[in-house]
């Protein structure tokens, strides 16, 4: 069962910066369990379907002789056949139910998490808070890094409507419901970039609410986390420094935080290390200076209805601001 016993002709699953997002391309502990379950159930159901179709085809095409079918004896024989088929249905259904329960139990096996991440889903982006009392906690947006082979506990909350946290390659989905907290455990078995996406309809930009899970070896994860704990980079570059001034003057700071500066807003994503992220606007665009500028200049055309207001800026200010954003590695 380990090798993907796929019945369906699948196109290439991995592609470029998209990262993988497929239940069949399992790269995590839960993901693999679920993939095996899916494949097994699909095979069983396929066999059942073929069986029923053979019966159907036979009953439609069989040669009929004389008055067969009307006699009492044949009616009884049919009764036996139908009862047998129903009994088989009961057995198969029972078997699948037990199989499903077993998988649930394997998924639930509790272990102490090595790392806890709090997820706050908002219309239409993901806030990730790494809670670590000893080393200090920090925030990212739309991108998490996790160490390979470790249990990562994800605490799921929503600040507005219902969303759903789903990284198909690593495991099943779980909703984020306002007023409640749900838990999910992730464990990536191999390094890689795994794409996740909101799976519960959450309004206008539900389609553009993706995030990436970057599983990496413990050492590089530690480095990454250490960098993230640093306050926002100070840059000597003139353009970026001017951008910082624009950031403060134009009220960007009312919504965004850049640690180590006066910007402490909490409505929008934490931008302390925005330059280090792979994408911006919840997976909408690759993170380049050009796309940053485009986003700041006109967020409502790129992602209509999103919650970033358009701030009027001159061309120079825009250039400076995007340079500053890019410098926040």
């Amino acid at each position: 069962m380990r090798a993907p016993l796929i019945l369906l002709p699948l196109p290439v699953l991995l592609s470029g910066c998209g990262g993988s997002q497929s239940a069949l391309d399992a790269q995590g502990y839960s993901g693999a369990l679920l993939r095996d379950l899916i494949v097994l159930i699909v095979v069983v159901c396929l066999v059942v379907w073929i069986g029923v179709m053979i019966m159907l085809a036979w009953s439609l095409t069989r040669r009929r002789d004389g008055q067969a079918g009307d006699s009492r004896g044949s009616e009884q024989r049919l009764g036996v056949w139908v009862s047998g088929a129903v009994a088989a249905t009961v057995l198969i259904i029972g078997g699948l139910t037990i199989l499903s329960f077993q998988t649930t139990r394997s998924l639930d096996r509790a272990g102490d998490p090595d790392l806890t991440i709090r997820v706050r889903a908002q219309q239409w982006w993901w806030q990730f808070v790494y809670e670590d009392a000893d080393a200090g906690s920090f925030q990212t947006a739309n991108e998490i890094h996790i160490p390979v082979g470790k249990e990562v506990r994800v605490r799921l909350e929503s600040t507005d409507v219902i969303h759903s946290f789903w990284v198909p390659s690593l495991g099943g989905k779980q909703d984020l419901v306002p007023g409640r907290e749900n838990l999910l455990t992730l464990r990536a078995e191999r390094p890689g970039v795994y794409r996740g996406q909101c799976a519960e309809f959450c309004g206008l930009q539900h389609s553009h609410m993706a995030f990436f899970v970057i599983a990496e070896e413990e050492e590089s994860y530690r480095q990454w986390a250490a960098t993230q704990r640093q306050p926002g980079a100070q840059t000597g570059e003139a353009e970026a420094s001017a951008g910082k001034a624009v950031f403060m003057a134009r009220r960007c700071a009312a919504c965004h935080t850049i640690r180590g500066t006066g910007a402490t807003g909490t409505t929008g994503p934490d931008l302390t290390h925005v330059g280090s992220r792979r994408t911006i606007a919840a997976g909408l665009m690759d993170n380049t200076r050009g796309s940053l500028a485009a986003w700041i200049a006109d967020p409502q055309t790129l992602k209509p209805g999103n919650n970033m207001p358009l701030v009027p800026l001159t061309g120079d200010e825009l250039r400076q601001l995007s340079a500053y954003m890019e410098s926040l590695k």
């Binding site: 009953s59 499903s100 649930t104 759903s164 409640r180 309004g203 539900h206």
Partner: protein
């Protein structure tokens, strides 16, 4: 006092026609309470909504045919998929099944009109008003954009600006009131108006399925009425049912919605099953195999339907124990479904199939529905569902169940009963074309969606990015959808053409065994010249020469026969109400009140006054012969 015993056939028909025919002209049509007239309106309106809903589906497929397409913007797309779901469920599927019941049940049980025919007329007008409300709001760009499930808080006061969510919630009220009205009529018609001798074990399977469906409506619809009313109250007068900060709960909505929403699927599916069980025997020319198991399966499905709503909520974070229970119950619904499939196969096996269009659609139904049922077993498993919930896999699953499981039998039913309803046959040639086009392109359209779902494509997204591996299949699906719509186009062309120009059908063109084929095609306003007497499950096969009938009903007033619940022994001669315009005015008054009440809570007070006046006009006796007793 004139009874039919004293008259010859021609005179009897003339007198019955005078008593039962609606007045000509516009107001005569508005006032008509003939169940066939109302049902025909219902069916035509529901099919119009099907076409409109199908156009919406094509718009969605156009938008999804390529990544980051800009044919439809996000706001419009959200309105479109909400409209598509709500329209297909509330304005097409449920009403069309109930309309078939309104048309066929009185004929199949051998009575002259449905019970409470004025309520029936009222129900249609209210349904029409609800449909217009939804579609006019769509045209005004203020259609609901919250999905057909309208989860709070997205549909709640904070995130659902404007009246969009209110329009959705009130549209529910319109359609639910009309559905409840029909359910009551069907229950009473089946219980009290069956032909003498039609004991419980001689009721046609379609009638059984409609009876179970009516009980499902009665038990399930109050949940959605309560849910949608409290949603409007949260939005309009500031109650806190769904506000977690003040003691409400977002999941309460989901419980209420799916407590209705799951039985809703069976409300649509059970009538379809009844149609299959009725059509199949005619085209193999033998009685259906396993009448009793089939009835038991219908009832078991109806009961189980209330025990599996939580399988729509497997990923919201409920306790594991509860989820396990609902996995088991959801899986177990496959057993009655299996019983039915095997009984049909046995019927086919032992009969002599005649491959006319209705049978083709029934066979298409079996092939397709088994797939839908099996994917249903898949999503009943909590861990399986964790991967496919809210993905295109689920979209594929329920289209297999709803189109394969309900629309295919419905089309079969249209081909089968069209001659009865219009007196004319539909074209066999076009029918075969329609079947092959619809059947093949249906699978081409919806099967790839299973794969898309497993590849991680979520539902309800208006677009996707080019670097995701979904573009190829999506384009394929969109192209197949065009062929599918062509298939439906052939079907509609055939229906419209045959309505006026089809070959005349005669009373019983298929040599079918049930009572509706005992009268002329189309049936006269009084349905039967004399009320039939039944002594077999398949009366027209057991009595091929002369139909046993009763005599002694009056012809100078609309009179029908009331019989006992179990044995259908005659108990009374009862009058059936005359035509009346009051149901129409009552529906207008109700519509005004319901629409007004999404703007002001005082509408409930002031808007109720005209309703009360209309109802008094409706029930106040006019001294007609029907009032005598």
């Amino acid at each position: 006092m004139v009874t039919d015993a004293d008259l010859d056939e021609a005179e009897l028909e003339r007198q019955l026609a005078r008593t039962w025919t609606s007045k000509p002209g516009f107001w005569g049509a508005i006032a008509s309470v003939d169940h066939k007239v109302v049902a025909r309106r219902y069916i035509v309106t529901a099919f119009v909504f099907l076409i409109l809903g199908g156009i919406l589906a094509l718009a969605m497929r156009l938008q999804l045919s390529q990544p980051e397409a800009r044919f439809v913007d996000a706001d419009r797309y959200n309105q479109i998929f909400t409209m598509h779901g709500s329209n297909m469920m509330f304005l097409f599927a449920v009403p069309v099944m109930e309309a078939m019941a309104v048309y066929l049940v009185p004929l199949m049980v051998g009575t002259r009109n449905i019970a409470f025919p004025r309520l029936n007329a009222f129900s249609y007008w209210l349904f029409l008003a609800g449909g217009l409300l939804l579609w006019i709001s769509f045209a005004l760009d203020t259609a609901p954009d919250i999905g057909w499930f309208a989860y709070v808080p997205l549909s709640g006061p904070e995130y659902g600006a404007g009246k969009r969510a209110d329009i959705w919630a009130q549209m529910i009220t319109f359609t639910e009131v009309s559905a409840l009205a029909i359910a009551v009529e069907i229950v009473v018609t089946v219980f009290k108006q069956r032909a003498p001798g039609m004991s419980l074990d001689r009721i046609p399977l379609l009638v059984w399925s409609m009876l179970v469906m009516a009980f499902l409506v009665i038990m399930a619809m109050p949940a959605i009425m309560f849910a949608s009313s409290t949603l409007i109250m949260d939005r309009l007068v500031g109650t806190h049912f769904y506000n977690p900060a003040e003691g409400g709960d977002a999941l309460l909505w989901q419980h209420l919605f799916w407590f209705f929403g799951h039985p809703e699927v069976y409300i649509i599916f059970l009538p379809a099953v009844g149609m299959v069980s009725t059509i199949l025997p005619t085209f193999v020319q033998r009685p259906v195999f396993g009448y009793l198991p089939l009835v038991m399966a219908l009832i078991a499905t109806g009961v189980l339907a209330f025990g599996l709503w939580v399988h729509h909520m497997f990923v919201v974070g409920l306790p594991r124990l509860g989820e396990s229970f609902f996995t088991a119950s959801s899986m177990s619904i496959a057993i009655p479904a299996g019983v039915q499939i095997f009984c049909w196969l046995a019927t086919l096996w032992s009969g002599r199939p005649v491959f006319k269009t209705p049978l083709l659609f029934v066979i298409g139904f079996i092939i397709t529905f088994v797939i839908g049922g099996l994917t249903g077993v898949m999503v009943a498993s909590v861990p399986f569902d964790a991967q496919v919930h809210d993905t295109y896999f689920v979209v594929a699953h329920f289209h297999y169940v709803l189109i394969g499981g309900a629309v295919f039998p419905l089309i079969a039913a249209v081909y089968y009963w069209f001659p009865k309803m219009t007196g004319r046959m539909m074209s066999e040639r076009l029918g075969q074309w329609a079947f092959w086009l619809i059947f093949i392109s249906f699978h081409l359209t919806f099967f790839p969606m299973h794969i898309l779902g497993l590849q991680g494509m979520p539902r309800r997204i208006y677009t996707y990015q080019p670097d995701l591996p979904w573009a190829g299949l999506n384009l394929f699906v969109s192209l197949s959808a065009i062929i599918l719509s062509l298939g439906f186009l052939v079907f509609f062309i055939d229906a419209i053409r045959s309505w006026s120009f089809g070959r005349p059908a005669g009373d019983n063109p298929w040599n079918a065994p049930t009572l509706e084929w005992a009268t002329s095609s189309p049936p006269p306003p009084y349905n039967f010249r004399s009320i039939p007497v039944v002594d077999d499950r398949n009366p027209l096969w057991s009595q091929p020469d002369a139909l046993p009938v009763s005599s002694g009903l009056r012809t100078d007033r609309r009179e029908l026969l009331i019989t006992g619940v179990v044995e259908a022994l005659p108990e009374a001669r009862e009058s059936s109400p005359q035509d009346s315009v009051w149901p129409f005015w009552a529906a207008i008054a109700t519509s005004v009140m319901l629409i007004w009440s999404i703007f002001s809570p005082w509408a409930v007070v002031w808007g109720s006054i005209p309703i009360a006046i209309a109802l008094i006009g409706w029930f106040w006796p006019k001294g007609e012969a029907e009032d005598e007793s």
